[in-house]
Every structure is written in structure tokens, then in C-alpha cells.
């Protein structure tokens, strides 16, 4: 989650789950070479909201930081689940941040041009529902004027919106950057196109992933149902199947349907699908549906999900969707 020209991003690692669920680390630059003709890469193209807001808890006059953590109602920018901290900023690890003032329903919060109120506490001193006053468009304007991207203490200098803006960023619905997408650039996509590797995106509102508070983190990301907008790129050119490619498509020997090598045909755009994102919020490769094909790889291999939970990072999000790679995937396809 750092500016793409920063040296630490250049040295970012790529976590790869192989066919047996074993985890290995590669340089991020190796991503382009991991896929073969007939593979499908699905990435989260959600752009990131500036979801960290510094302000004042009006009843006490004390400073407060609210980190927007999830939608109460998807795409309604007036209501959010938020995690609150007292004075301080991203340079202090969240686990060391004192709790916010006692937050009660009706408390007024002021964040620069934005006025909000606490709608209710969520059984944790830091976790609340908040509601912003004003028209949705003016709230979004207030967020871009006053908010900053959520960031963690290991990067001390403040990030700007452009620092968390992926090259594939589209719909601004995520609270933290779906940072696996930083590994994708147009040259990589072009190379995949030329090699017959299909690419599709979904827009997943990645929520706040970690606070350092164990009790709170068990509740993050929000277990609310999150809506996805599916996007599918139709194959741009006829695919000539190379030797061995057939083993990666069609019905597996077990009789279970495997992922299609690519999603073909035109799929109805703008359909909003809903799915339980409690696990999915930590990954970018999770679910895709269309009118003709449905894929439900919500659960990747257990080791994959466990490892990503252990690291507390949501950076491991690009996974080869080869049939031999994600064995436990439940899948139906009629493409």
C-alpha cells in the first residue's frame, strides 16, 4: 500500500498458493510469468476511498480519528461502520492508540467540512455506526477534501490518494487499497492478452483489515454482505490451444467441473451480485458470476486463507485459477 515508484513497493513479494496449497514467496515481478494460455486472472479493481478522517468528538472536544471500515448500505456514503481512535495518526501503530472518547448514539463528530453523528455503538468501544449529514455527493466531496487513505505505521510518510490508486482502479468503494492490484500494470495485461491469458475484474469493497486489537480484528472485515459488480472481459482473440492446455479446462476426472479456461461470450453487465464477504474481504480472488457462468471460489485453499489471515495483510490476492491450483473450489459453469 505504498506509492508505486517507492523502492519498498518494487521489492514487494508475491505469495503463491500451489496446487497442494503450499505457500511460496516470489518477487512481485514474477507475477506475469505465472500464468499460461487458458488461465483466467481475476482481480479486484475497486478504487480506494480516503477513509481515514481526523476530527473532533464534539461532546468532549477531544480529537478523534475515524477509519471507515465498511458500508452500512452499499454505496450509500452517508452511513458507515467506523473504527475510532483517539488523538494520533497512522505513524502510531493502531494497537498502541488509546481508545476514543466514550461514543454514544447521537454524539456529534466533526471532520473538516463533514458533520457526522454516532448512530450507535457496536459492542466495542472503538466500533460504531456513523452517519454523515448532507447529500451523498457532498459527503463524497467532503471525503476527498478532508479524508486520507488508511495506512499503517510501517510507512511513516502520509500517503496521498494517488499513492493508493491502482492502474486498474475503477469503482471507488474500497476502504483499504486492494493492494494485490498494484502488481498489475498495462504491460502485464497486454502480455497476458497476447499469450491467451484471460483477465477479468470484480469490484469488491475491501474493508478495514486490521487494528491490532484482537477482539476487534475478529470482527473485521465487516461480515456484512457486500455487493459486487462483476466485470468480464470477453476474449479478445481466438485462442489456439497449446499442448496440454486441455487438462486445464472442462470436467475434471473427479467429475467436478473445473474453472473454464476463460469466460467466453458476452455477459450481462451491471448486474450486482451479493455474496458473503466475511472471508472474501481478505482476498481479491473470490467470486465471479455471470448470466452464463457461475464460479464460487469463495474459499481458496485453507492454507492460503490461513496464511493471509496470519500475516494480517490483504496483499495476497492474485491467484492462478487453474483447476489444479484451487482444488477445493466449488464451481459450476455453463459458459
Amino acid at each position: 500500500m505504498t506509492a508505486e515508484d517507492r523502492i519498498d513497493r518494487q521489492f514487494a513479494k508475491l505469495l503463491v498458493a500451489d496446487a497442494d496449497g503450499a505457500i511460496s514467496h516470489l518477487p512481485r515481478a514474477a507475477l506475469a510469468s505465472l500464468f499460461q494460455r487458458g488461465d483466467l486472472v481475476v482481480a479486484n479493481d475497486a478504487a480506494t476511498l480516503p477513509a481515514s478522517l481526523q476530527g473532533v468528538h464534539r461532546p468532549t472536544g477531544k480529537p478523534i480519528e475515524a477509519r471507515l471500515a465498511g458500508w452500512v448500505s452499499f454505496r450509500d456514503p452517508t452511513r458507515f461502520i467506523a473504527v475510532a481512535f483517539s488523538a494520533g495518526d497512522h505513524r502510531v501503530p493502531t494497537e498502541d492508540r488509546p481508545p476514543p472518547p466514550l461514543l454514544s448514539a447521537g454524539d456529534r463528530l466533526e471532520f473538516g467540512p463533514l458533520i457526522a453523528s454516532v448512530e450507535g455503538a457496536l459492542n466495542h468501544p472503538r466500533l460504531v455506526h456513523i452517519r454523515f449529514a448532507g447529500h451523498p455527493a457532498s459527503v463524497v466531496r467532503g471525503l476527498v477534501q478532508h479524508g486520507r487513505p488508511i495506512q499503517y505505521a510501517h510507512v511513516p510518510e502520509p500517503l496521498k490518494l494517488r499513492d493508493v490508486w491502482m492502474k486498474i482502479a475503477a469503482d471507488p468503494i474500497a476502504f483499504e487499497a486492494p493492494s494485490a492490484g498494484f502488481a498489475l500494470d498495462r504491460r502485464t495485461l497486454k502480455g497476458w492478452r497476447e499469450e491467451g491469458v484471460a483477465f477479468a475484474t470484480l469490484s469488491h469493497a475491501a474493508g478495514l483489515s486490521s487494528t491490532g486489537d484482537a477482539a476487534l480484528d475478529r470482527r473485521l472485515p465487516s461480515t456484512n454482505t457486500i455487493a459486487f459488480r462483476r466485470r468480464v472481459r470477453r476474449r479478445s482473440r481466438p485462442r489456439s490451444r497449446g499442448p496440454g492446455a486441455s487438462s486445464r479446462s472442462g470436467r475434471a476426472s473427479s467429475g467436478r467441473l473445473n474453472p473454464p479456461p476463460t469466460l467466453t461470450g458476452r455477459c450481462v453487465p451491471e448486474r450486482v451480485e451479493r455474496a458473503d464477504a466475511s472471508l472474501a474481504a481478505r482476498a481479491s480472488v473470490l467470486l465471479m458470476r455471470s448470466s452464463r457462468a457461475s464460479i464460487n471460489p469463495v474459499k481458496a485453499t485453507p492454507s492460503y486463507s490461513e496464511r493471509s489471515l496470519t500475516t494480517g495483510r490483504s496483499t495476497v490476492c492474485v491467484l492462478p485459477l487453474r483447476s489444479e491450483t484451487i482444488a477445493p473450489m466449488s464451481l459450476e459453469t455453463r459458459c
Partner: protein, 246 residues
């Protein structure tokens, strides 16, 4: 005026998501009026809040205050565009700067004046296009079609004395558009560079104060031509989608 525009366009752009920079005067304003009247979902960007509010009220288009010449404004602008339109099908980079006014010979032009022309006419459109390219490519993947229209000028290809900063910047924009065209075609995003001609606009009046407005093209006419070109580009990239539109 809006009904007239719709009839003249003879097209219904309902649901098409279009962003226009420099949307409060001249060609940009005519485009916003035209597109909004044709039932497109329109967001426009301009620097002055008061004008933005006025045009927004008049057209019901979404007005965004921002300056394409400011790097710090670009991603906020992109976020507001993508948010308010729910994605993006067409970006029209219309905002322009003449550089020095009154126009100056190059030898009299300050570096800062040339810099301003390059920032607004080249770097700004580049930054905004780059920030919104993900949304445009997503639109193309959905089969909606996607296009970027960069408003150019004949000063980009003809050498007019005194138009050095503007002409050089527009020439750069033209060439950049041509390269974008090549690089983005596989993604399904079309790029066009369009010269609207000499129009009766505040920008032209700044450049040529003694021009007879009667000899100049009406921005409304130029806007109609640009919309026609835009539709042509989208038909090429998404024939099925456009064919379904009434």
C-alpha cells in the same frame, strides 16, 4: 434549448456516463448542455465553484470543482467522477489554456507561461486519463464501449505566429492521443483527437479579441459534431451496445 439539442442530436444517450473538463464555458459548457439534454449521465469539472454550481443547477449534471492543471486535484476529481457516475464510458478532455494572454511570440514567452500551457493542455489530460483508465477499461470489458476525446486545435498542426505555447501543447496532446490510440485499442478504449474549429468562445476572444463573432462557429454546433464523433467511436468499440440504444 435542451429539447432543440436533443432533436438535433437525434439520439438518446440515456445511461451513458460521460465526464467533461472545462465544463462551465465555451465548448465545454455546450457539451455539458448537449449531453445532459440527450439524457447522458454527465459530470463536469471546472475551477470556479460558483460557475460549477450554476451550470450544475441548469443542466442537472454533476459539477465537480477542480483544476486539471493541479496534480493534487486529479485523483480527487477522478474519484468524484467515478463515484457520481458509477463508472465512466467517455472522458472528454476539453479544458485548455492559451498560455500567455495576450498571445506572445515564443521569444517573448516566459518559461512559466509555456509550462502552464503544457500542464493544462497535456499533463492534466494525461493524468486524468491515467487515473480514469481503469474505469474506462472496465466499461470496455463490460461491452459498453469506452472512449477518450481530447479537444485539439488546428494550432496543433499549423504554425500561427503568437500561438507557440498553445500550439506546441496541442501538438503534444495530438501525438500523445495517437500513441494512446495504439496502446489502448486492445483494451477496447478508443482515443480521438478532435479539432472543433474556430468558435465563438471566451478562450477565442482572449486569443483574438477583435475577431468578428459572426464569422466563428457556434460552440453548440461544435458540440454536436463532437458528440457525433464520440458516438462513431463508441460504435466501433461496442457495436452491439449502441445498436440497442433507441
Amino acid at each position: 434549448v435542451t429539447e432543440e439539442t436533443r432533436v438535433l442530436n437525434n439520439i438518446d444517450l440515456k445511461g451513458m456516463r460521460i465526464a467533461v473538463t472545462g465544463g462551465t464555458s465555451g465548448l465545454g459548457l455546450a457539451l455539458v448542455r448537449n449531453l445532459a439534454a440527450s439524457r447522458a449521465r454527465v459530470a463536469f469539472v471546472a475551477r470556479r465553484a460558483q460557475l460549477v454550481e450554476r451550470v450544475s443547477r441548469e443542466t442537472s449534471a454533476c459539477g465537480i470543482v477542480g483544476d486539471v492543471g493541479l496534480k493534487e486535484d486529479i485523483h480527487a476529481m477522478a474519484l468524484e467522477i467515478a463515484w457520481n457516475l458509477g463508472g465512466l464510458d467517455v472522458l472528454i478532455n476539453n479544458a485548455s489554456s492559451l498560455g500567455p494572454t495576450p498571445l506572445k511570440l515564443l521569444a517573448d514567452t516566459e518559461c512559466e507561461e509555456l509550462h502552464e500551457a503544457l500542464v493544462v493542455n497535456v499533463l492534466g489530460p494525461f493524468r486524468l486519463t491515467k487515473a480514469l483508465f481503469g474505469a474506462l477499461a472496465a466499461s470496455a470489458r463490460e461491452g459498453r464501449g469506452a472512449a477518450v476525446i481530447n479537444i485539439s486545435s488546428d494550432a496543433a498542426v499549423s504554425t500561427y505566429s503568437g500561438w507557440g505555447a498553445y500550439g506546441a501543447a496541442k501538438a503534444a496532446l495530438n501525438h500523445m492521443t495517437a500513441i494512446w490510440t495504439e496502446e489502448a485499442k486492445d483494451e477496447g478504449v478508443r482515443f480521438l483527437s478532435l479539432d472543433p474549429g474556430d468558435m465563438d468562445t471566451p478562450l477565442h476572444a482572449l486569443a483574438v479579441p477583435d475577431a468578428d463573432p459572426a464569422t466563428l462557429k457556434r460552440p453548440e454546433d461544435a458540440a454536436r459534431e463532437i458528440v457525433a464523433s464520440m458516438l462513431g467511436a463508441l460504435r466501433e468499440s461496442a457495436p452491439l451496445v449502441l445498436a440497442r440504444r433507441p
